[in-house]
């Protein structure tokens, strides 16, 4: 195997000034009670064999087949399952993928909430909408529902002979069947309490930095929890068949789906709502680096983020490969440089998340105190290397194989196929788009990957989100992106001398 090109360069490239900082020493491992009933010198386990055993006879550890690895095969494309697509009488769009190997069916209904949640900064109303109305009405196995600013998703699955029941579970949740109002009140109250912890501060700060902490008119989110009646009004306006796509994957047929739709969804109706028009919002004029104060974690969570293209863009396959080369798998630049060479982080990697009209490319690591500066710089260095040095043929081939393998893997289960088609339906993409994607990935050149890096990972476009204790401000300052703005877990700026979190232990 050839050496990984960008990896070699990583040690030579830096976009951050070298600043000596006084970082406190790493905290010792915490004190956990060890004085329990187990005596440490009790012979709990067999002793290890420290002595070398006798050599094996008639065995060659260097046989030819051991010295050189087996030949590699061509990368395999995902299987092309037959896809049926039609519109039901009430306007519900249906996609059916027939797979007959395993006697299960996965169903997923996605609702494009259009512009109804476009002003839902932070996604709280969406979260409450899903948690209140898409929670299964009774204990229903493998049925889940949730909403985000992208839209709502309800999933169910079961044995193929239970297909009617699988669809009925979904229909029951979205078609306005009510339970006692007190149940919805209870769910809303509980969901309002859970919202704070529903996403990590890293995710919320990234979204705030990439899309703003106010809506597109500059308005901050309303502070009060919406009432149940306001949420019911939102549900009635958005849970309508013309805005929904039902995906059914598994051991069934198109005609069976049509028959069950007649039984389960025929009574569902509602007005047509306009689809949101994808328009890429401008990058907010926020800070380039934030430190979200969080005293509860010992590590520094660090993400270098940048806005990427939408899934509709021509260069999105190149961004997929760029992300893979940077930090997609165990063979990536970040894994080898930041984790294995520097030993700076156990968790490190890169990913791209797609939203309706843009994507976010993120390189992320969790660093111990004494590795935080090295690790954060390692992330920046990896980006710089990707911009400056074209990936080697071997790196690119491996990345292509890996990206296509992930697509193949995602297409290996009913649930995986339904999830992909559902996510893409919310983005306005047709099933053919994902079927064509592996070929588009395989056609990307190293120059196109580098061009994507130069376009989307421009130093001026990069933003840094740190989550950790205030003392990590020194690390933030060392990255050369200016003084960090302190934020709360939602990405809202804190006053410069804001009060620390409650310091008095309330119970002891």
């Amino acid at each position: 195997m050839r050496l990984f090109g960008p990896l070699v360069a990583l040690g030579m490239v830096s976009c951050a000034p070298a600043v000596e900082l006084a970082v406190p020493p790493a905290a010792p491992m915490p004190a956990i009670p060890t004085d329990g009933p187990v005596a440490p010198d009790t012979p709990l386990v067999p002793p290890l064999r420290y002595e070398e055993g006798p050599p094996s006879e008639g065995f060659s550890e260097d046989a030819d087949f051991r010295v050189s690895g087996p030949p590699l095969s061509q990368s395999l494309l995902p299987p092309q399952d037959k896809v049926h697509s039609f519109v039901f009488a009430n306007g519900l769009h249906a996609i059916v993928v027939e797979r007959r190997g395993f006697p299960m069916v996965a169903a997923r209904l996605v609702i494009d909430t259009g512009s109804a949640l476009a002003d839902d900064v932070g996604g709280r109303r969406a979260f409450l909408l899903g948690a209140t109305f898409l929670h299964p009405l009774e204990r229903v196995i493998q049925t889940t529902g949730a909403c985000s600013v992208q839209g709502c998703v309800v999933t169910s699955r079961g044995l193929s002979k239970q297909f009617g029941e699988v669809l009925a579970r979904i229909a029951k949740l979205v078609s306005g069947v009510s339970v006692d109002a007190s149940v919805y009140e209870r769910r809303l109250a509980n969901a309002a309490r859970l919202y704070d912890q529903a996403e990590t501060p890293l995710v919320r700060n990234i979204r705030a930095l990439m899309f703003g902490s106010s809506d597109r008119d500059g308005e901050p989110p309303p502070p009060e929890v919406p009432t149940l009646s306001a949420l019911e009004d939102l549900r009635n306006r958005t849970f309508v068949p013309s805005a929904a796509t039902l995906i059914v994957v598994g051991d069934t047929t198109e005609s069976a789906v049509r028959g069950e739709l007649d039984k389960t969804f025929a009574g569902w109706s509602g007005p047509t709502i306009p689809r949101a028009t994808p328009t890429e919002p401008p990058l907010p004029k926020g800070p380039r680096i934030v430190l979200s104060r969080n005293g509860a974690i010992g590590q520094l969570w660090c993400s270098i983020v940048a806005r990427g293209p939408s899934l509709h863009a021509r260069d999105f396959p190149a961004v997929l490969l760029l992300t893979q080369i940077l930090g997609g798998k165990l063979d990536s630049a970040l894994f080898h440089h930041v984790r294995e060479s520097l030993g700076a982080a156990y968790s490190v990697g890169a990913r791209v998340d797609w939203y309706r009209d843009a994507s976010v490319v993120a390189l992320t690591g969790s660093f111990d105190r004494d590795n935080a500066m090295t690790g954060a710089r390692g992330l920046l260095n990896a980006i710089e290397a990707a911009r400056e040095i074209e990936a080697s043929a071997d790196d690119l081939a491996r990345a292509k194989t890996a990206v296509v393998a992930e697509m193949r893997h995602a297409a290996s289960t009913d649930e995986g196929i339904a999830a992909r088609l559902g996510a893409e339906a919310l983005l306005g993409l047709r099933p053919e788009a994902s079927q064509a994607r592996p070929l588009l990935v395989q056609a990307v050149s190293a120059a196109e990957v580098r061009a994507a890096a130069r376009r989307y990972l421009d130093p001026q476009a990069l933003r840094v989100v740190l989550v950790g204790k205030p003392e990590f401000v020194a690390v933030a300052q060392s990255l050369g992106l200016g003084a960090p703005v302190l934020t709360d877990r939602f990405g809202r700026p804190l006053p410069p001398q804001g009060p620390a979190q409650a310091s008095a232990p309330p119970h002891l």
């Binding site: 990984f4 491992m29 386990v45 002793p47 290890l48 929670h135 081939a397």
Partner: protein
């Protein structure tokens, strides 16, 4: 060829023609439920001459193929003072071997189209997993056999030092910086009988003292074909895989693993309560009980009991969440080969008193010890079956499951939770979830200890 029928299995007592060179014996285990819910092709199990156990689950309906290599050694086998050694060895298995350079393992797997590549260390065992197209199996077998036989050849003190640092990071990442993760270590050491290898804390306090010599000795002692299982599941050609496994693993030298000492029995605790503080957003109350090992009487019944208690519309939700005492509550049984642990955990609502939550959990468990309703059992049973179906759709779960030395009547245990009488469930709760068999951990929100895990405040034996 003589055959006799076992429950769900065809055992070929004589050697199969054509495979006699390879196999000491072959077992084919099919699974087709009486009610016809699902049928999965038979599983083949055999041993190589060096003792390596092989399990094959071919299924032409699956597009991918997964491999699990299981070593029958886990963190419970860490020598005293070397806690963390099994996990350290797992990390080092990815750092190259005699014929695979450092970093090349991942490159080979990537070029073979591998996904879900990972290693995991539990109390009982260590697993290495990968999923590839069938065309990539030879690469996986080559890599796995090279590290099974020769991983020690490429080790050095620097690599060991780096991986020790990464494991400390991993502990912070997965345990110390996670709300519920920190609860376990606080009560763990109190839970098991004296001398039980599960009873040491799981934060690897001996890691710093693990040396390269310890790593080599651990490999020599435990990482041998005779102490390993290779399982393959998915869409592959069986004859080709027979030949590949023989080629890559068949002549690896092997030594018998040592016998483990008998373990102390009984409970390690008598109603212990631990109060601790941590920089967490909400207080957490956790009950832990020791429970019968996997496959022992009451183990399956307690699985179902946990599912009933976790029901989103069930007892704990009714008594804790709906009453405003907690924002989240869950129950589960973690089953291991030598003992299990039953957990109930509640994340308290703002302003709720931990004493009220402790009483509510006590009451819910007490009620369940009296009666379990038929419909509660049926929902729990159906949930287990449905979850199993979700997993069995993937070759990764099939391979992983086949590699585990769990006692089971059939390869997939499709019927494991059928035909229970609800009274058996309440009986299992009554027998096992008793006050004299538990630890209660109350971790208070306490910002004096941000990011430092759990800090013990007081400990009391309640009787």
């Amino acid at each position: 060829m003589a055959m006799r029928v076992q429950p769900g299995c065809w055992r070929l007592v004589a050697r199969a023609k054509g495979f006699a060179v390879f196999f000491a014996g072959v077992t084919l285990c099919g699974q087709a439920l009486a009610d016809g819910r699902i049928s999965i092709p038979p599983v083949e199990r055999y041993r190589l001459k060096n003792g390596l156990r092989v399990a094959l689950a071919p299924d032409p309906s699956l597009d991918e193929t997964s491999v699990t290599v299981h070593y029958d050694v886990g963190s419970a086998d860490d020598p005293p003072g070397k806690e963390g050694l099994a996990h350290l060895v797992e990390h080092l298995m990815f750092d190259g071997s005699r014929h695979v350079g450092q970093g090349d393992y991942a490159r080979w797997i990537a070029r073979a189209g591998g996904v879900n590549v990972n290693g995991t260390t539990s109390l009982d065992g260590t697993n290495y997993v990968a999923t590839v197209p069938a065309t990539g199996l030879s690469v996986v077998f080559w890599l796995e056999s090279d590290r099974m036989g020769f991983v020690a050849d490429r080790l050095n003190p620097q690599i060991v030092q780096t991986e020790k640092g990464l494991i400390r990071d991993e502990m912070r990442d997965k345990i110390l910086d996670r709300n519920l993760g920190i609860v376990g270590p606080a009560g763990w050491t109190q839970l098991f009988p004296q001398g039980h290898p599960y009873g040491r804390n799981q934060l690897y306090t001996g890691l710093a003292d693990c040396t390269l010599d310890d790593v080599r000795a651990f490999l020599r002692t435990w990482y041998s074909p005779a102490n390993a299982v290779v399982s393959v599941a998915g869409g592959f050609d069986v004859a080709s895989v027979h030949a590949l496994i023989e080629r890559y693993f068949g002549d690896l030298p092997s030594v018998e693993p040592p016998r483990r000492p008998d373990l102390p029995s009984g409970s390690g605790v008598h109603d212990v309560r631990i109060d601790a503080g941590a920089g967490i957003p909400h207080d957490i109350v956790t009950f832990m009980w020791t429970a019968p090992a996997i496959g022992e009487p009451d183990d399956a019944a307690l699985d179902l009991a946990a599912a009933i208690l976790s029901d989103p519309e069930g007892r704990l939700q009714r008594d804790l969440v709906r009453t405003g005492l907690a924002v989240d509550v869950s129950a589960r049984e973690s089953s291991w080969r030598r003992l299990s642990v039953f957990w109930i955990s509640a994340v308290l609502a703002d302003g709720a008193a931990s004493e009220d939550v402790v009483r509510a959990i006590d009451r819910a468990v007490g009620d369940m010890a009296v009666v379990v309703r038929q419909e509660e059992y049926e929902r729990a049973r159906d949930e287990w079956f449905d979850t199993l179906m979700l997993r069995l759709e993937t070759p990764a779960y099939r391979a992983f499951r086949l590699a585990q030395p769990w006692p089971s009547e059939s390869p997939w245990d499709l019927n494991k939770y059928d035909d229970f009488d609800p009274a058996e469930l309440s009986g299992a709760v009554r027998s096992n979830l008793t006050p004299d068999n538990r630890v209660i951990v109350v971790v208070h929100h306490d910002n004096r200890y941000p990011g430092q895990g759990v800090v013990l405040h007081r400990e009391a034996r309640q009787r």
